[in-house]
């Protein structure tokens, strides 16, 4: 499992591909605070990779580095075999990396459908001039992309609220719409920042099922942050554990569960 190039097959028969993204010695500081300290890990194609750790461990900061929102002071991001230059977030999105946020970041003034359609924007490139006439290229592009968006909407079972303004939705549904928007981009890597935070048990079960289905049906590589150990153990192929900006564990859920540092961090053993 340490070789980075080959694929392997999991116990439940899914094929996990070679490394698609690699973080090398990432260090991120905010003034005096070191949010991420010299962390390296990789993400393989087709896997569900979890990042866990207590509050303030630097998990969201790590996703923000991946999506180009924070620029680390040290370290390199490698994507699909080459070193990624410093990029703006919209350029990262164009490379096929989509995400959701810990605090929902939907477009409140728009309907569910329009929000999902914004996920298609990286696939739509009709010029301003053609769009002002609509008929022809603009309309064809709109319809083709609408079909993809509708597929995602069906998949996540939100057909009934398609035309509802998102500001009227419940918290749980908003989380689902945000997932729909990210999925609509048909990303190669999907980053989920605490997709189940604040949900009730039933909503959590739905969300877990959707995450597994996305991975299964579209083969999407998923990196997700989650608090709930139980959920992580069920969902993920491999887990990175962070604590106070440091990586304290990395491996299969079973490896991680039996790792003494991880147990200490989760049980709140005093740090030296």
């Amino acid at each position: 499992m340490n070789a980075t190039a080959e694929s392997y097959t999991t116990e439940d028969g899914r094929t996990i591909g070679p490394v698609v993204m690699e973080m090398k010695n990432i260090t991120l500081r905010f003034g005096g605070v070191e949010a991420i300290k010299d962390i390296s890990f990789d993400i393989r194609e087709g896997e569900i990779r979890a990042i866990i750790g207590p509050n303030g461990a630097g998990k969201s900061s790590m996703l923000n580095v991946i999506s180009g929102f924070y620029v680390p002071q040290e370290g390199e991001v490698w994507y699909k075999g080459s070193r990624r230059p410093s990029m703006r977030p919209y350029q990262v999105a164009e490379q096929g990396i989509a995400r959701t946020f810990q605090n929902i970041a939907l477009f409140e003034g728009m309907s569910v459908l329009d929000n999902v359609m914004t996920g298609r924007l990286t696939h739509m490139n009709t010029g301003l001039f053609a769009q002002s006439f609509w008929k022809g290229k603009a309309e064809q592009e709109e319809i083709a992309n609408r079909e993809v968006a509708e597929k995602i909407i069906d998949f996540l079972e939100i057909q009934a609220i398609r035309k509802t303004p998102v500001s009227r939705l419940s918290y749980g549904l908003k989380k689902r719409v945000e997932l729909a928007r990210a999925l609509a981009a048909e990303p190669s890597i999907l980053l989920l920042d605490e997709p189940m935070a604040g949900m009730n048990v039933e909503e959590k079960e739905d969300m877990s099922r959707f995450i597994l289905d996305v991975n299964d049906e579209f083969g999407t590589t998923i990196a997700l942050i989650e608090h709930d150990m139980g959920v992580v153990m069920d969902l993920s192929d491999r887990v990175v554990v962070m604590d106070y900006g440091k990586k304290i564990g990395d491996g299969t859920p079973d490896d991680v569960r039996n790792n003494q540092d991880v147990i200490d961090a989760y049980l709140g053993v005093a740090h030296d």
């Binding site: 999506s67 929102f69 703006r88 977030p89 919209y90 990262v92 999105a93 164009e94 989509a98 995400r99 946020f101 970041a105 939907l106 477009f107 409140e108 003034g109 728009m110 329009d114 359609m117 914004t118 996920g119 298609r120 924007l121 990286t122 739509m124 009709t126 301003l128 769009q131 002002s132 006439f133 609509w134 603009a138 309309e139 592009e141 709109e142 319809i143 609408r146 079909e147 509708e150 928007r181 990210a182 981009a185």
Partner: protein, 358 residues
Amino acid sequence: MFYREAGDFNTSYAEDQQTFPIKFDRYRYYVVLFIAIFVVPFIINDYWANSFLLPFLIYAIAAIGLNILVGYCGQVSLGTGGFMAVGAYACYKLMTAMPDVSMFIHVLLAGLITAAVGVLFGLPSLRIKGFYLAVATLAAQFFLVWLFNRVPWFYNYSASGQINAPERDTFGILITGPNTEAWATYMFCLIFTIASALVARNLTRGSVGRKWMAIRDMDIAAEIIGVNPLRAKLTAFAVSSFFIGISGALFFSIYLGAVEVGEVFGITKSFLVLFMIIIGGLGSIFGSFAGAAFLVLLPVLLKIVGVDWLGWPTDIVAHLQLVIVGGLIVVFLIAEPHGLAQLWRVAKEKLRLWPFPH
């Protein structure tokens, strides 16, 4: 059930995406269009053209333009008067430099020139937002008026410092100067208004429109789903200024005929158009029309009712108008940010269910 959509299903995405998905709305729209094109020109007179129809059509274009920037893209602007002035002076320079070219071309070119100027003044929007951007556009407003006042080249060194529209025709029909006919100027403006509304509608329902709205609603999330913020904002400034430039060109050449820049395109003009979209509805093409109609009609109606019928002094009526507009702005900003357009939607919703609301 005055209003119904029962049995009116859209069976394809193309149908669902049309401007008026409900048949009833579509027919009403065609009727309005028919009247505007085939009835009004035959009954129009100078009074109605000058007191209502021309300013309504021209302001509607400006309101559509500003609404794209403010209502759809969320970038506040107080520079509308200045950008209308750019359109007006561009049109004037083109008319005098190339007397044989059609006015259609001049007005369109004036729009394009204003779009370029708008992009220039939109550049700071990448760095500054909200209040500070409003102040920056305010600076643009004052700078542009100052420029057109102070640089004689813009008014062809005329002694008065004003610009006057020379007589020009299109397809042999006179449309500028003192000897025009009401139907001709009306039709000329109507064509631009309809075209502007269609283009604005097409842009706002597609991917550009979603980029603008994404920036408006949450710029950070917009960037993370792949919207280039600078490009989205600058296209909004460009498209917005294009319409505002056209409206300035028409306002000068067709409607007024002569312009003293500080008087016509001052800061009050910026506020007037802003009030139109606040009252009409932010983020709504229909609202742009409603707001323009309301603020153009209000003084006319107040004058007819107050001065002509009730015999009140003119200045009282003028003050009353300010009070009404001010009050409405406050009410709409607090209670209904989506303006008359939203009230209309709500009314339709009620009518659709009437008389069985449950």
